[in-house]
């Protein structure tokens, strides 16, 4: 592989990886606090994309307004989802909550099929993001430049919220010990709602950026990205925000660089994420940056 091809592949991988990272953060926040694999996260992501689409193409809003509204509505949707599908099960066995998440995911997908139609829609990409840059023979789409920046900014904002604000402190408290958090007069439901709000907003942003990069919407578009980003979060160490970013980048790199180096494996690309996952888990069962929580006997 010549240097230019390598650089091109590397840029491709970083661009995909930072998108994975962005979505994985939302996953990891929700999981970190509730220990819930939110299988519906990918569907919330899909809703974000569609809302922005309808904002621009049906209601003819300017794109920035459509994006903001889409994020807000998706956030409300995510908070509502937690209320309806997860809160009643907070003290139930894990499998019940997970089934509820799967059920919610099915419901959202099927509703989307009925409401939005199963046929893919083309996402209207504003000219602002449609450009393309060539730097030293390496082609970089404008969105691919924006995504890592957005991811980095959001990462900083999140780290600030979680580590520097009172609410963030409460989130960390809830995630270690719900009952002890209650004893601190923390309104656990509110904190969980806020977490879901942040997670859903991130999903919406992820969905919109995804649609800008791959301008096609369909009701089932969230399933695979959702699963892969969850894997990214697990690989990085679930519950760790930095881990999610690391996992996302790593996944993007592995997926694309493996193909770059071994083109005959392209057909197996969908399996790379899982192979990475299993290898990491076997070596470090709690993920790269995860903390060990053994059971005291």
């Amino acid at each position: 592989m010549d240097l230019q091809t390598f650089l091109q592949q590397f840029v491709n991988a970083l661009s995909l990886g930072s998108l994975y990272a962005l979505i994985a953060i939302g996953y990891t926040m929700v999981y970190g606090i509730l220990r819930l694999i939110n299988f519906a996260h990918g569907d919330v992501f899909m809703i974000g994309g569609y809302l922005a689409f309808y904002g621009v193409s049906t209601f003819l809003m300017p794109w920035w307004l459509a994006v903001c509204l889409a994020i807000v509505v998706t956030t409300v949707f995510g908070v509502g989802l937690e209320r309806v599908a997860y809160r009643p099960l907070r003290d139930s066995p894990r499998i019940s909550i997970m089934i509820s998440a799967i059920g919610a995911s099915f419901l959202i997908e099927n509703l989307a099929i009925v409401l939005f139609d199963a046929r893919p829609k083309a996402f209207p990409v504003s000219n602002l993001f449609a450009g393309n840059h060539v730097i030293g023979g390496v082609h970089i789409a404008a969105v691919s430049l924006i995504i890592p920046v957005v991811t980095a900014v959001l990462l900083a904002v999140l780290l600030w919220i979680v580590h520097r604000t009172k609410t963030g402190m409460a989130m960390r408290a809830v995630s270690t010990d719900i009952d002890a958090a209650r004893l601190m007069a923390i309104d656990v439901n509110r904190i969980v709602s806020i977490t879901f709000a942040i997670g859903s907003a991130l999903a919406a942003i992820g969905g919109i950026l995804w649609a800008l990069k791959y301008p096609r919407l369909e009701p089932l578009m969230g399933i695979m990205p959702g699963l892969k980003c969850f894997i990214a979060a697990v690989v990085g160490g679930i519950g760790s925000i930095a881990g999610a970013v690391l996992g996302g980048l790593l996944l993007g790199l592995i997926e694309l660089m493996t193909i770059a180096v071994l083109p005959e494996l392209t057909g197996y690309k969908d399996a790379f994420a899982f192979v990475l996952l299993i290898m990491v888990l076997l070596v470090k069962p709690t993920g790269l940056l995860g903390k060990n929580q053994g059971e005291k006997v």
């Binding site: 009172k166 409460a170 408290a173 270690t176 009952d179 002890a180 209650r182 004893l183 007069a185 309104d187």
Partner: protein, 235 residues
């Protein structure tokens, strides 16, 4: 005053509290002693609303608080130092203390209280930036008590504060209980260490398998034969 009537709790098939009644007069120290699994922690947890009671009532200054959310109970001035400390190990000492004052809005008062806690436990001040999980058991217990004091309690309930503490610390904890009480805070104390507990208490209740079997003045109970035999390990 805190008054508990006929409180009853089930965990699935286990009848953990079988209708217990006790009074905690304002400004006093009341202690609850009894064997492992007698239901002492359950009593405290159900007062705090962490465990759902099956029946009975908990009145605080004439108001029924049973069934209120934990948040409201803490804000009304009842605070629990839970069994096993339950500090937040990934958070620093400062953050743990701030969480204790989570519901309070007056920053100056909170800072003043933080200084007061540091005065009580200079050890915490030395290490205020350290993650609490790296503390020794005794230090963690100080933090748990300090954290509770940060919420400016009117009633401080402590669940086995001497658990896992070196005898030296045990003595110190009981001194602090006296100090806190002297500052006007009502204390409800649950202890395995019945001897020390009864020594500081105004009133003692003895629990056994979900019921209160007898009660009385702390000093009287200390010399009570039944107590000596069953809980003080004296023949």
């Amino acid at each position: 005053m805190l008054s508990i009537k006929n409180l009853s709790v089930h965990y699935g098939g286990i009848h953990a509290l079988r209708g217990i009644s006790l009074d905690v007069p304002a400004g006093k120290i009341v202690t609850l002693v009894g064997a492992n699994g007698a239901g002492k922690s359950t009593t405290l947890n159900s007062i705090m609303g962490l465990v759902k009671a099956g029946g009975g009532s908990v009145c605080w200054n004439g108001e029924e608080i049973l069934g209120s959310p934990t948040k409201a109970i803490v804000e009304s001035g009842i605070v629990l130092v839970p069994e096993g400390r339950r500090i937040f190990p990934n958070l620093t000492v400062d953050e743990n203390l701030s969480l204790g004052a989570y519901a309070r809005t007056n920053k100056d008062e909170v800072e003043a209280d933080r200084e007061r806690v540091f005065g009580l436990f200079p050890r915490l001040k030395e290490r205020h930036k350290q993650k609490a999980g790296t503390f020794s058991g005794g230090e963690q217990q100080m933090l748990a008590v300090g954290r509770a004091l940060m919420s400016k309690p009117k009633v401080l309930m402590m669940d086995e504060p001497s658990l896992g503490l070196a005898p030296l610390f045990v003595g110190m904890i009981f001194d602090i209980i006296r100090q806190i009480n002297a500052a006007g805070v009502t204390v409800l104390l649950v202890e395995q260490n019945a001897k020390a507990a009864l020594e500081v208490a105004d009133t003692g209740y003895v629990m056994e398998t979900g019921t209160i079997i007898f009660s009385g003045n702390g000093k009287d109970l200390l010399v009570d034969d039944r107590v000596r035999k069953a809980y003080l390990g004296e023949a």
